[in-house]
């Protein structure tokens, strides 16, 4: 553990504005797709001089109250399956603890570079497979012209819903079926494992709820906020017991992200469900390139390839961070644009409705 007394950075107006701004964009994306932002916030805080562990802890301490506010907002829209969120959240907590243990072991054996390489490879592999599939699915929906129709559970989800294991069956309103908790436990665990590894459990949790359990995109992304709350609360307590949370950083990020998450949640009521998949898939695929850029840096630090020059390392690091920020901004842009268009269409609809009824 770093010396806590000397770990608190000085906060000036620019730092506060920076954290507020990143918090806002991260919150906007989280409110819409259920997660996101952490992959920019943690390195963003570290770039300000915050020690890695404190950045992770402070990010987590802003995440659970943000997720709570977002979940409550989306609950009002009938999008949250609290039971599914809590059941997945508890198993996700176990995944977080297990994932943190793996991280510690890798760090102890291979050092920082080994740990970073593990995280980057996990990012690339998971984002390529899951992100690619989500994006492909969204593309297929768009091309088929069925973007407006109600989402149907896939073959895998239907098969899982058809299996009856006595004593383990639970009814979930989002799926409108009974599913064995023996299926939800590994999904929650994987979500937590990802949260501890790549900081964004939702990149596994949301697609798992959609494709494995058969939940609609809107409900999956909203329910992810419940999982994020449970995971974030447990994780924050764990870090706070060691005095690792910088509450100033957490609350400043929260200040921005609460503006964002409310807006993102409102945005979900204006878009077609497949837009959740578009935003999530796009962010995942772009972030994949960002992490991919860093792989040669860590390979070089471990001596597995020729040593890279300082300029090359700096270029790759800056490029990687810039791509991550781009991913988040693009996500935020799509959400705002979709919302703007939805609002415009709604106004037109009401105007024509009013004309028809002779109210104007």
């Amino acid at each position: 553990m770093p010396d806590i007394a000397t770990s608190f950075i000085n906060l000036d107006a620019i730092t506060i504005l920076y954290l507020f701004g990143v918090g806002f964009v991260g919150g906007l994306v989280s409110g819409f797709i259920g997660s996101g932002g952490a992959f920019v916030l943690t390195p963003g805080m570290m770039s300000l001089g915050v020690p890695g562990l404190m950045a992770v802890a402070s990010n987590m301490c802003h995440k659970f109250p943000k997720a709570l506010v977002g979940a409550m907002k989306r609950f009002k829209y009938g999008q949250v399956d609290v039971k599914l969120g809590l059941i997945l959240g508890v198993s996700a907590e176990a995944g977080v603890l297990y994932g943190a243990g793996i991280q510690e072991k890798i760090k102890a054996t291979y050092g920082d570079a080994g740990s970073n390489l593990y995280v980057s490879v996990a990012f690339v592999v998971i984002l390529a497979t899951v992100g690619g599939s989500v994006l492909y699915d969204a593309w297929k929906t768009y091309r088929s012209g069925n973007a407006n129709s109600e989402e149907k559970a896939g073959k895998l989800a239907k098969w899982i819903q058809s299996i009856n294991i006595p004593g383990t069956m639970v009814y979930f309103k989002s799926i409108n079926a009974r599913v064995s908790v023996l299926f939800t436990i590994p999904l929650g665990f994987a979500t937590g494992l990802m949260a501890a590894t790549i900081a964004v459990g939702g990149f596994v949790g949301v697609p798992a709820m959609i494709y494995v359990l058969g939940a609609p995109s809107l409900m999956a992304s909203a329910t992810e906020l419940v999982i994020a709350f449970v995971m974030g609360l447990g994780g924050s307590l764990k870090y706070a017991m060691h005095g690792m949370v910088d509450i100033r950083l957490a609350m400043i990020i929260l200040a921005g992200s609460l503006f964002g998450i409310q807006l993102g949640a409102i945005g979900t009521t204006y878009v077609k469900p497949f837009m959740i998949k578009v935003v999530m898939g796009l962010i995942m695929v772009i972030v994949l390139f960002s992490r991919g850029l860093m792989v040669p840096v860590y390979l070089s630090q471990l001596g597995l390839i020729d040593t890279l020059g300082d300029t090359t390392v700096k270029l790759l690091k800056n490029g990687s961070f810039a791509i991550m920020i781009f991913a988040l901004l693009l996500g935020a842009f799509i959400v705002l644009r979709a919302m703007w268009q939805g609002k415009k269409a709604e106004k037109l609809l009401h105007a024509s409705g009013a004309l028809e009824h002779g109210e104007v």
Partner: protein, 83 residues
Amino acid sequence: MAQSTTKKKPVAAMIVMGVISIALYATLLLKQDVINSTFAQGGWFALLPIITAFVFSYFHGGFTGHFWTVLGVEAARKKKEVK
């Protein structure tokens, strides 16, 4: 949709929540040295950042919610309920 157009905007609630929120943030930043050293003690003191997060999210969350409503940014009126 006459009902939604005549709905009163929660300006007073936004102001009250906003003032409390500003007071909380001002206290946090003005007393940051004391807060940092107390919260960093770990153990049972771990409850302090958690309680702080809940309190801030209640007041600031309330403020931001009313803020968008007052600006006219609200959920779609003809929203299809998802089962």
